[in-house]
Symmetry: C2
Subunit: 208 residues, 2 copies
Amino acid sequence: MADEEGRSARKRRVIMEAATTVFLRHGYVGTSMDEIAALAGVSKQTVYKHFADKERLFTDIILGTIDQVAEPFHDQVLGLEETEDLEKHLTALARRLVAIVMQPQVLQLRRLVTGEAGRFPELGRTYYERGPGRTVDTLAAHFQRLAERGLLRVEDPALAASHFNWLVVSIPLNKVVLTGDDDAFTAADLERYADAGVRVFLAAYGRS
Amino acid sequence: MADEEGRSARKRRVIMEAATTVFLRHGYVGTSMDEIAALAGVSKQTVYKHFADKERLFTDIILGTIDQVAEPFHDQVLGLEETEDLEKHLTALARRLVAIVMQPQVLQLRRLVTGEAGRFPELGRTYYERGPGRTVDTLAAHFQRLAERGLLRVEDPALAASHFNWLVVSIPLNKVVLTGDDDAFTAADLERYADAGVRVFLAAYGRS
C-alpha cells in the first residue's frame, strides 16, 4: 500500500517535470496533454488521473515551483521583528529575495504566465498571489511589528512592504523578463541591487 | 506625387493597425502575414513592400507605440533640472509616467513581448531599450544636473533614475501584467502610487 502510494507520487512528479518542459517549450496554448504523456512515458489516462485538466496541471506546476523556491525566503524572514541589527537582517533578506526571483525557472514561468495573462488571467492571479503577493503580505506583517518596536517608521505596512520588494528586485527582474537574457546579471550584481534597495528603503522608512 | 506618398503612408498605417490587432489576438508565433494582409484589406505583396518580414513589422509597431505614448513624458522632463520646486515637478513627472506605462495597449504589448522573450530576445531588447531603458537614461542625465545644483544627493545617476522609475511604476505594473486585469487600478490609485514613490525617492536622494 505504501509502495503503491510511493509509485503514484513518483509518477505525479515525472508528469509535472515533463509538463514543465513542454509548457516552457511550446507555451500554454501550444501544449497538449498527449505530448506531456508521451514525454513522461505514461498513458494519457494516467495524466488525467493525477490532473483534471491542462489548467489544473499548469497551476500545480506554478504553485509547486513558487512554493519550493520561496521556502528559503520565508525561513529567513522568521525572526525579523526580533532582530538586533535591522539593516543587516534586511540586507540578507533582500539578497535572498532577488536570488530567488532571478532563478531561470522562475523567470521562464513568469514570462509564460505573463504572455498568457490576457487569455488566462486565473493563471496569472495564482502566480501573483503565491509569488509577489505572498512576499509582500509576509513582509507587511513583520514591518508592522518593527514599527511597533520603533525600528521602522511605517504608516502603511503593505505599501512599505511593496516598496521594499520592488526596490530590491525591479531593476534586474524587469530587464531580464523582457530581454530573455537570464544571465545578464551576476550574483554580485544582484547583491549590489539588493543592498542599494535596502539603503533607499531605510532612508524612507528607517528610524531617523 | 504628394498624393502617392499620402496614400502610401495611409496604407502603412492601416497595415500597422491590422497587425497590432492580429498580434495581440494570436501572439507573435500565431500571427501570419496573410492574416494581417486580409484584415488590412491589402495584398500580401503590399504588406511586404512596407515591411520586410514579420519581425520588422512587429518591431515597428513596438517602436511606434512606445515612442508615441512616451512623448508626453519626454516633453515633461524637459526643464526638470531648472525646476524651482523639485518635489512638485517630480510628482507631476511620476504621475505622467505611471499613467503612460499603465495604458492598456502598452500593457498588452508588454505581455506579448514578455511571452516571446525566450524565443525572440531581440524584440524584448528593443522594447526594453525604447521603453524603460530610455526613461532611465533621460532621468539619469537630469538627476546628474540636479545633483550639480545641490538639489539631489546622487552618486550613481543611473541607479537613482532606475530607483525612481520602479518606485513609481512597479506596484501596479507588475501586478497587472501578471493578472491581466488592466482596470485593477483607478487613475487616483495610480497617482497615489506615484506620489508615494516620489516621497521614498526624495527621502533617499533629496537634500537632507
